[in-house]
Subunit: 256 residues, 8 copies
């Protein structure tokens, strides 16, 4: 039930064509539509010129292509994450302009007229502890770009060589949000969180072996960070970190 | 080494009273002071009129009182978290004006001239799924207040009775940041994150029994939230959630 | 917003005292009330003559008493679970008629006119592997009684002495629902589930030591039961098992 | 020892052809047969016109085919779960009429004269949070059909977009049993359990990544559900959920 | 139904006082009694002059005393494990002759005429790695004694000082069964299992701290022992180890 | 240093050709040889006519073949466990008489003159809960045979159909040792341990899915068995169970 | 058997008073003594003027006192770790000179004539991330002192304020060994290991809450340190770290 | 900023070409360079004639080759760990002299003029419990060689046959450092640590099956070693153990 239908119903009541009791009965199924109505602003914001996102994992190339077609028809573009080479081949066959980032495992079709990865606006700095963390950092970076935010990468600044992250002090301080991607012991977010006061979103990665337990060590490390106010997303979830950054950036933009 | 000392050293060199080689030698211990210098802005921000924070757990009442005295001397006030009744008694004996919140386990001495818990400025909504989650939510709330941010609580809106959180739609949409505190299955942040686009900070609590495993169930649930962009802090860490909100609020305030 | 208020609003529209646009605006907050309305049947069922339930753990005696007063005023009675002796003393002081079951840790004030623990209707058999599992079984049993269902206990029929559960074959086959409470290796539900075709709800208990890991062994055992169709609730959650039985019993009662 | 053999033995005693002592000796092995006898009703129910079930995992195509032949000879049909394409090819070669559901990984040969998936009788609603949960939901659905129960699917109604599950309120309320399949944080059963009073069987899936830990997050979430009376089966165990539903449906059908 | 009752029934049939059909009906509940009958040898063996065992944990002193009275009446004595000082006081008040072993936490009333802890017969050697493992070793030792087996203790022979266990080579080789009790890394069973070919029963203890995780480290170590044929019982389960030894000793005694 | 060398050394001292001090020095490396000497009986027993064992996992076919050659040269035969088809092909090329058991993953070359799998002597019964547990049971069975012990298999007697294991009561009671192999909830050893008093060795298998966690559920179930005196070996360790049985069988054989 | 006894035996042989065969027989139990002999240098080193160590946990005050008496008689002094106030009171009653360090939970009686905590020799720096880690650091420090090594503490230099550890660069570089004690995310050893090339021994502490899981987070973090060559001891094991340092210090001292 | 640049800056100030204020501004980014400067000695040590190390895992052959080229240009050689056959082929194509150790999975190009694996200097003994642990031991061994340290291997000395490790007593006592590599229960480091006083670095391996849980059992065993002063590195981390040995060796070499 859209707002239009609700308004029509109320007009029916106002014009005497529908008794209040009958309207009451039909409103029994109202909550959903109402909810949809309530979220109209939020949805509009998401849909204006920015791609919807397809999580490709566990989907067949045909399924991904079908969803991509639907999204492209609605919004002019789309973003796919966790895409394999097979996904890429299938989608590119249908959308030759799609950009396949093998490292980030993303498929991106730019929406026409959108300032993707704009070079002004507040900056989100994506920091990766080591080169092995790059795929996750890249996923965050591409997501930011596709959603129209300004991003920048800073790589190989792990805590075993502190001078590297210290040298980046100015960049860290000038960012609006810092996403810190690290595997192994996951100590970098604590260091960054201690250096600067901006929002720090930590992303543990499954990089490491033995007692890294697929990212558990880094995850626990980040959750127990001694730098107050660091927040954490799921293991290897670069996309989620970018979406968390987006929540902050959009809020900052509209703050009174 | 403060900037003043560094400047004095450079003046010595400029005036010929110290050879470059001698200066180089004395600069061997420079990094720390330099770092301190680099963070001067950050530190000033933290220290102006707002209390420093004492983590009381594992500290004796005497230790907490001693730290409180030092902080009060420097900043006029302080905030203590995880404070027991014994901590409270000891500190109150020294600072009769300290406010002891038994539920939140906080000790707060307001700094004079600070607009603690100001009623304007962007709002942080602290949402608690159940009444058992209140202590953690309260810790977040008091921390926000003590740091000069506007906070508001919304309690007992767990997902088993959805109408309660749905009824709060407007409050959620008007907040600058939403902190969601939940134990058991920790599902509330997913629901809130799906309803609104503002930053959502999830705090798992150790509320629950059996296979809740001290908050592990809620923690895993929140990390795997199907609502994109939700971030998570440590179990029962209401203070950390408030500090994460603060990072967002300060950044939003200075965004160009 | 109750159905009455909604009807009043619709009448206003019908009588021309409120324009559809104005009504639309006021309906913005509708979902909650609507939802409440949608669940009216469900709520009625819960409230007719049967006590609401207070989860006492982590609540003070004063809090429990206050909630009990509210529930007693609304429904004439109440059920409290996980109640300590302190809870019991406080509540009994206010409600001398309350029944305190120390083993089950329940506080029960019977609603007047309710056929609590009726002796007819479908039977729920609460089976406990050992005497140490009794507190959890008793919690399930009292909950059933308080909700007006017929329950019966069968105790000390663990799998190390199979003849005991085999001897109860008739009782098992005549039950409408069987709740099986077991700690240690949690094997009893598999045996019961293999003997009879009725719904089997397994409750792992934290009984055991060493590698029982607080009920984890029993929980995993029950989840992996080789008897198809056995379902599981949380560790030590006798209340939850009774509520699951209730869902089945109510459904069976109304099945066409 | 069948009841017939037992009766024959008793007749021998009655006719004086066998002394009580000799009969006592021969009854030493009685329990098994007796037990079989005791379960005669249960077995009849299982075998009348309904397929027995083959769990194909870890079995070779030849083994599965051999079991299928035995079951088809006895009951006219069969159901195979966790079947791979190799299993399907082998079985189809022998039973061209077998139905291979690639998504559900089931092999089903309908028993002649059985009202498989009947369109009347109480309804079991199989709810899946996301499209990735479909294989597990489909396994439950096919199992219901093969056992002669009426099932219906409801897909992609995860909690991040609440309006979707709310829109299905009527369907949920009309179901006799609701099976809720969800991965990631596994929050959907709590929401469904809060909306309706019918039996809710939760199935965690291994969908998710990182800290989903192969379904552990969803499993713990469901076990800790704040909606009372939700029960849980093993991770990815759609078959088990259908069998649990069957226990409820059969019981309801015969309830006095 | 005891064998006597069964015999009586058969006599009734033989004498024509009961028809085979009537007997068949009454035999419907036969399995249990039959089973009991089937185990008659086993039970006799357990009950002849040897005490039954009371697991005292989670039982009140009154409950333990009541069970003790029943067992003493039947068998002349009893053994209680996991007994606290409160249990001991209560039982001793009733049975002044009971022996309370504070270290082992056992309560033992010797059955008259039983050769408890006989000094001949095959020897079970109870080996404890450190003095902290003594309570568990002592529980095993007292259990052996109470069941009439010859036991001997060997203490403080951990692997960090190999000469100690090596010096005990003869004792190890002469034992019929060796119980090895160890906490921390639980390495002693591997060493003992490599030294001798007799049955080795490993008992992990919860001794240790930090990453010992309540005995998990020792348990995993013992399960992964590189000495083939070592078996393991639950953490701190000295009683279970003694019972496992008993199974071996009884079997060896009757081996043809 | 063999006993012969030691004797020679002592003779040198006795004959004055070696001073005590010089002998003392040379005895510095004595312990190893001494130990070897001490274990001479044990080693002889292992080596007489019985194959040594090769654990093939993580070894190349060439390595396995090389070890097999060495063992065959010394003992006339060998047993290989965890052997793949590649291992089998390589070894068979060298030893055409080797027996490759695909299910058990064993390679066995019988030693000439050895009564492998003798049909007399005490019986070890290998019980498997389900057909999926067969590979582990078969590994135990082949190991017993290769070591010259009498074994027998009993398969598909899981607890969900109790009549099956109950029907095997006589077989269980007549065995000298019972090895019980089970996956999923691992409940069968508790049932068997309750039925008979003989030594019961439980082998958890990795059979199962979801919350079976690779055999962890069965392992914990068996460690927490409510049947006293059941012992446990590592997950899927059929070989270890057979070796544990051997320890019992050899001991029983020599018991005075 | 001490070297003296062995020499006496050899002299007996040399003098013809004992035949080689008789000597061989008596040497059957030789390994232990031999081993003791082999370790004579090691033992001497441990016993010269330095206290033996009593692990007091799980021991009664009386037991600790008894062991202390034995050690004091042999070596003139002793060190007790994990000592409670009760332990301290009991021991002090017997040894008034014992030093009780409440923070470190140590009891230390200095051996006369020993240069405990000498102020020369290589330095071991004990670094603690936070004040809450002090008890563990202090245990390491006291152990070093009692063993005669030079130690120094550096406290409150956690990674959230990097300038603090950076300021200690010279101290770190001048140490022979660095022990790094940290809880929460355990990141400090990675930072220290990256700053200096000396041996770094990491000690995780149980400091932290929520997902710190009793030190597991810090332990995993340290095991996965991105600074190569950092080694780890058990959680809260300050004593073990000091002993590891001692192994390094003694080796360095005797290196050719 | 190198020391040279800093000196140049100071000269500018000394010569009046740069005002102190201007210098102060340029020193704002000083910490990093300063830090680099502070570590100059450490870096020199690492870079003189010894290869830098490439962690090949998760890197493409092309990436590894590129890094190898950069390192070879700087230092004349390099060491690669966790290298696959694909890595080896690619690197060998560019550096025909590279040595590919398939077992250790290392790629090593010797630096000209470096005494790799020198045969004098203190010895590091690499002890492996079983042949399956060889790859990890070999990684440690090659790393030692490539870094110019003297190493030696001792293999197949697991605790199930103690005589083997006891026979190596002299070798153990003469080593400067002992690296002990073991899987399964990981007991060997405890035994070695009890035999000798030299530094013992324990490396758990993922060798084992079932409840070995990928090396967790061995890791926990080693962390809980009853031999004081044993330290542990990550599972399968032979490289890390060699680096830890190196820290000790370098320190010992420079100890005053």
């Amino acid at each position: 039930m859209t707002p239009e239908i609700l308004r029509a119903l109320l007009v029916e009541v106002a014009e005497g064509r529908l008794a209040p009791a009958g309207a009451l009965e039909r409103l029994r199924d109202f909550p959903t539509s109402q909810l949809e109505f309530a979220q109209v602003d939020h949805h509009r914001e998401l849909r204006q010129g920015q791609p919807e996102v397809i999580f490709c994992e566990r989907k067949t190339p045909a399924q991904v292509t079908a969803i991509a077609e639907r999204l492209a028809a609605a919004a002019g573009g789309f973003l796919g994450t966790r895409a394999t080479a097979e996904h890429a081949a299938a989608v590119r066959h249908r959308f030759p302009a799609v950009e396949w980032n093998e490292l980030a495992r993303t498929l991106w079709l730019r929406s026409p007229g959108v300032d993707a990865g704009s070079t002004d606006g507040p900056l989100t700095l994506v920091v990766a502890a080591g080169t092995s963390d790059l795929p996750v950092a890249e996923e965050a970076f591409v997501t930011l770009q596709a959603l129209g935010h300004r991003g920048k990468k800073l790589v190989d600044v792990g805590v075993a060589g502190l001078h590297r992250i210290l040298a980046a002090g100015d960049q860290l301080r000038q960012a609006a949000v810092v996403i810190v991607v690290a595997g192994m012991e996951g100590a970098l977010p604590s260091v960054v969180g201690g250096l600067v006061g901006v929002p720090v979103i930590a992303v543990p990665t499954s990089v490491g072996y033995g007692a890294a337990f697929g990212g558990l060590a880094a995850l626990l490390g980040m959750l127990n960070s001694c730098a107050a106010g660091v927040t954490v997303v799921n293991i290897d979830n670069g996309f989620g970190a970018a979406m968390a950054a987006r929540r902050i950036l959009l809020r900052a933009a509209v703050a009174p």
